[in-house]
Symmetry: C2
Subunit: 196 residues, 2 copies
């Protein structure tokens, strides 16, 4: 059975409750999966034909570069969606890996079902419009911050806005997510604690 968490997620974006017929249909289009820590749910080069909703746990996506340096792109925990959207929409091979950092429960929806849901259930088309809309806006802000602010400022803001991430994610992954090396993050943290 698909958890009520997803339903709440949808309703909170819609700003209204969801007709139970729509929710039934959505449930029939989704499946759930338990993921062990360190398990990989998508590998670069595979075709990403699913969206994942994290009901419980923590997952992240990253790109492996030529010099074996992992570039972390997204971090998703309870109530966030994660996928390789580029691959999902373009039907080209995935550029990211997606991996669990904690034992997790996720809800999966396949591309076919996603498209059916959008076409058949207007309220879901609407939900996904709002989901991408919001994701785009917050991604824009993250981009601007990364372009125009220093690593220490980025770290501070993450600490304020998503302390969850800092508590639950190992430092080398956090560093990559912030766009710096673990050594630099160490430095920043030290300066911060010395400054007190």
């Amino acid at each position: 059975m698909i958890s009520e968490k997803l339903r709440k997620n949808i309703e909170s974006k819609l700003g209204t409750s969801m007709p139970s017929a729509a929710w039934k249909k959505m449930q029939s289009y989704c499946s759930t999966k338990a993921i062990k820590k360190k398990e990989i749910v998508l590998r670069e080069g595979q075709f990403c034909d699913q969206l994942f909703f994290v009901e419980k746990g923590l997952m992240y996506s990253y790109q492996v570069t030529n010099d074996l340096d992992n570039q972390v792109t997204q971090i998703a925990y309870e109530d966030f969606w994660i996928s390789d959207l580029y691959s999902f929409f373009s039907k080209k091979p995935a550029i990211y890996h997606i991996k669990a950092l904690e034992d997790s429960h996720i809800v999966c929806i396949s591309r076919d079902n996603f498209e059916k849901a959008c076409l058949e259930i207007p309220v879901l088309e609407r939900f996904f419009r709002i989901l991408f809309q919001n994701a785009y806006v917050s991604n824009q802000r993250r981009l601007i911050q990364n372009i125009h602010e220093e690593a220490s400022a980025r770290y501070c803001q993450l600490l304020e806005q998503k302390p969850e991430i800092i508590r639950r994610v190992p430092q080398y992954i956090l560093a990559s997510y912030l766009g710096i090396k673990p050594q630099s993050l160490s430095r920043i943290r030290k300066k911060w604690s010395d400054g007190k």
Copy 2:
């Protein structure tokens, strides 16, 4: 009369042609505006209650920081949309200015009409879903590039992918868009031409 350019933009994202009733309604929800070079269509602090589609010309958005340094966030020319989406959706004061770099023609849609369009015309809800979806995916890629690649690599890629921007935008705006200072962009260009 609202230009056919917008219609083509919508249809290209939808992947199908648009029923003429839907297009009529969309037209009735939009207005057009001619903008002179250097004109500002949105100021920081105002409430941004419109989306703009650039039919002709070139506009850009930027943030003014404490030290009077402009941070360029978006550059939009023919066939792109531009707005302060954060303000548009949250109804909070705008954080960006939006200004024309060339004499431009734009199509405007107000928030009220945007919402009506989404609710009344399923094909438009669908269009905006796809629009934000695509914008999100390409913004994600821009973010990753900015986090993990050097300025010269970012410049090269822009040169390949949107040479339009490099031809039409003055260097100090381009530099800010790339997240560097004009002096650094000069340096990069020099290295590039010496390298030949």
